[in-house]
Amino acid sequence: MNIPREQRQQPGWHVDGNGLAGAMSDIFGRDITDAMGVCNFCGNRAAVAEVPAYNAGPGVVLRCAECDTILMRWATTPISTWLEMPGLRSLEIAMQP
């Protein structure tokens, strides 16, 4: 899926990571919306909750709000979930209280 940035950023194309808390819990086993991610390209640091997320396609793509790098991408089939984190330098996940 190669859609120009301007078009992707039109209303209706993206939400933010917060709305995907449940979907990410399916993958990570816990709510990671308060985890802090660092973009491997530009170094921007942001909470997963505030990362632009594109979920209109068959998979989900999370991109850096600053430079548009793909931080995380996943697609779920009936038998498994494929997860890529090509542009994520680190993900800081707080200890459970």
């Binding site: 194309w13 993206h14 709305g19 399916d26 919306t33 909470a47 909750a49 505030e50 632009p52 209280p97």
Partner: protein
């Protein structure tokens, strides 16, 4: 926050619609009866799942509108044209209908009631919903922190939670910013939120307020820029964006 975080694995819970309230021409509040609901903190949401007789199912996130800690589960759904889930929830849902939810979800866009610093809420359109949960929690607990809301909406007929917000408006807690058609009593020309609106109605940045901003992406980006320009600490601002129409 601790209560939500302490939840074991997320599971789908059966829910029964117990009350349906029309909020505006397009938005409806649904009260849900959920056994074993663990409670939520204001700002959180649930995933809602509808399953058709043929097994087809659809999942959407909806912000909780009810006060945190109350045990009451209410969501407000705005119709998205052509949205298969929102169309049912706003037009077809009736008391006694069954669906499933899981949650509460979200650990970032939440108001921690142990904080006593002032809280500025800024909502655009149906971005009011999680902020309403914060206002209701604040009210129910008679919380000592100062809390104010700026609510940007096209006109008075689009207003959600009208009786409650009208009384909070009378107390000076809530300011309505009409983008298209102001009321007769309003002296502000219609239009989008401006730096002037913040200067006149938002909590003074010298008081070190935190801020919660929720609405369509463009609205949120505008408000974030205005708040930082006004002197708010970016570290104390939390935002929730929804693409108009994408998660219907």
């Amino acid at each position: 926050m601790a209560r939500a975080a302490a939840l074991p694995r997320l599971t789908w819970l059966p829910a029964t619609i117990s009350d349906v309230r029309r909020e505006s021409a397009t938005a409806t509040t649904l009260r849900l009866d959920v056994d074993d609901w663990p409670g939520h903190v204001p700002g959180q949401h649930v995933d809602l799942r509808l399953t058709a007789p043929d097994g087809y199912s659809a999942v959407r996130p909806y912000s909780l509108a009810s006060a945190g800690g109350s045990g009451t589960v209410e969501i407000t759904v705005d119709t998205t044209p052509g949205g298969e889930v929102s169309t049912y929830l706003t037009q077809g849902a009736r008391p006694g209908h069954h669906l499933e939810i899981r949650g509460p979800l979200g650990k970032w866009f939440v108001w921690d009631t142990s904080d006593t610093e002032p809280v500025q809420l800024i909502g655009g359109g149906s971005g009011i919903v999680p902020l309403m949960s914060m206002l209701r929690t604040h009210d129910a607990q008679q919380h000592p922190a100062q809390m104010r809301l700026l609510y940007s909406l096209p006109s008075a007929v689009h207003m959600l939670y009208r009786p409650e917000l009208a009384s909070l408006h009378a107390e000076g807690t809530v300011t309505f910013l009409y983008t298209r058609q102001p009321t007769a009593a309003s002296t502000r020309p219609p239009g989008r939120i401006t730096a002037d609106d913040l200067r006149q109605h938002a909590i003074n940045p010298d008081l070190k307020p935190s801020a919660f901003v929720c609405g369509p992406t463009g609205f949120v980006e505008t408000v974030l820029t205005l708040l930082v320009g006004f002197g708010y600490d970016p570290e104390r601002i939390r935002a929730e964006r929804y693409g108009e129409g994408s998660s219907t």
